[in-house]
């Protein structure tokens, strides 16, 4: 895949607060995108935040190619994300993008997407993309509570959505790995794409391995550059230490030392 990485000031055209901890940034580019693929991410420059020295990585959440727009789904964690949550319509946000590899195109139609926390972010773009390949995935999303669920209708456009909440206020109670969908003796999926906290991804990977289902995960990692030069973001794979920002963020779990 050949595409050019850009450093660009995008314009915030919407900052939608989804709930206390999550918001959506819709960004307008001036120039047509080079290829954008699901699983890829951006490195955002947080201005005027004294405790945020480095850029912050965020997955591309959904795209609107004709209008040269895409969205980020961001969870407020620390100072950097808090600053970004204050961006207003018309403000500029400097991004390096697109970065990283992408989820692979499946060779089957029996696809499951599993996301938890802000790990749901890349899955909407992935679902959009799968629809273009005539695939309607099953989408299993985990939230803390009813209050924290968001964009269910959005995901539902592209697949069949199931949810879990920690407190049972919506969908099944418990963690995504405990959802009844995954408890059957034989699972109906031939491919799982997963993104979320490490522990969750490891559990899903275990289930996938047990059922001999191919599984790809999008890893989080502390990054300094995001484009392959600092070697800070490595993960051990069958090829040694690989860079999550270049060889990843998406890895087939077969290749990881999990």
């Amino acid at each position: 895949m050949v595409f050019k990485k850009n450093v660009e000031d995008l314009t915030v055209i919407r900052n939608l607060r989804l709930n206390q901890r999550h918001f959506l940034l819709e960004l307008q580019s001036e120039q047509p995108f080079s290829l954008l693929l699901p699983g890829q991410f951006v490195q955002a420059l947080v201005k005027d935040s004294p405790s945020t020295f480095l850029r912050r990585p965020f997955s591309i959440h959904s795209v609107d190619i004709p209008n040269k727009r895409f969205r980020l789904l961001i969870q407020i964690k620390g100072q950097g994300t808090r600053h970004l949550s204050l961006l207003k319509e018309g403000d500029k946000l400097n991004l390096i993008y697109p970065l990283g590899n992408s989820f692979s195109i499946p060779t089957t139609k029996d696809v499951l997407l599993v996301g938890g926390g802000c790990g749901v972010a890349p899955l909407l773009f992935l679902a959009q993309f799968l629809n273009q390949q005539k695939i309607r995935p099953v989408i299993l999303l985990g939230f803390r509570s009813q209050e924290e669920t968001f964009e269910i209708e959005e995901y539902s456009k592209y697949g069949t959505v199931f949810i879990t909440t920690d407190d049972g206020t919506a969908g099944e109670k418990g963690l995504v790995v405990d959802h009844s969908l995954l408890q059957k003796e034989k699972l109906d999926f031939r491919k799982i794409y997963c993104c979320g906290p490490d522990a969750m991804m490891k559990s899903i990977a275990r289930i996938a391995r047990w059922h001999k289902i191919d599984c790809e995960v999008s890893l989080e990692n502390t990054m300094a550059c995001g484009f392959g030069v600092c070697l800070c973001c490595i993960t051990p794979t069958d090829k040694g230490n690989e860079r999550v920002c270049m060889e990843g963020p998406v890895f087939n779990t077969k290749r990881l030392k999990w």
Binding site: S51, F53, L54, A224, F227, V229, C230, L231, P236
Partner: protein
Amino acid sequence: MMRDLSVDIAGLTFRNPVTTASGTFGYGEEFLDFLDPGQLGAIFVKAVTAKNRDGNAYPRMAETTGGMLNSVGLQNKGVDHFCREIYPKVKKFDTYIIVNVSGSTVEEYVEVAEQINELEKVPAIELNISCPNVKLGGMAFGTVPAMATEVTAAVRKVYKKVLMVKLSPNVTHITDIAKAVVEGGADVITLINTLLGMAIDAERRRPVLSTITGGLSGPAIKPVALRMVWQVHKAVAVPVIGLGGIMNATDAIEFILAGASAIQVGTANFIDPQASIKIVEGIREYLERHKIASIKELVGALRTE
């Protein structure tokens, strides 16, 4: 009026004083989407060691106020791989390619330097003597003058081109180390490498880095770096290449005034991959504004009277 940005570094003429620091610029290729290396004075590529090294375990990075800690640990595929796979690509760049040479023993430095000596398009190496000396139980070559002289002299014997030595700032008397490497035959001194630091996650009560301590870089260290460049520039006759927290052209000018004949852009590359070429532009504007014909006039031109 045309402003002359070129500088002479031990016989090499850099088209401008702006270069990129080892370990922050990969092998240059990763930057081709962002800039044309031909606009830079030189590029210093990632450390090369004799054999493949996996580097340290994850996590390798911690953000700090105005800087970052890293504990990458010289991850690279070894000098053979460099010569075979990387060199054919980087030699096409229209700028000087300088290889950062690291090792754990004198023999390893010598071995790597000998092989790099054969690469026609590499006019210089930068000996990174901040690495632990495994034989002497982890003490760094760069902290004991006699050892600094020894490793420099050993490499000097086999390396026929421009020999740069990059110093560690974690020492009491930086000028002693600088004099020691000049005695060993260094043509150029680069400084500074990272300061040894540490970060702790108070909530988890754990060190952030897998290695507990790591190297501090970024604007936080600029005052220390400037001070050392100033001290070393006054203490030795060879040219100095300065770095440590340079983020913009003003920072670069400060290092040049303190005595650096050229500068390296390091951590800034992560925040703005185009920082280095913007610095070239900013230096040109500075010369314009101050009506200075050549950047060479500014080297060490700090007014202290």
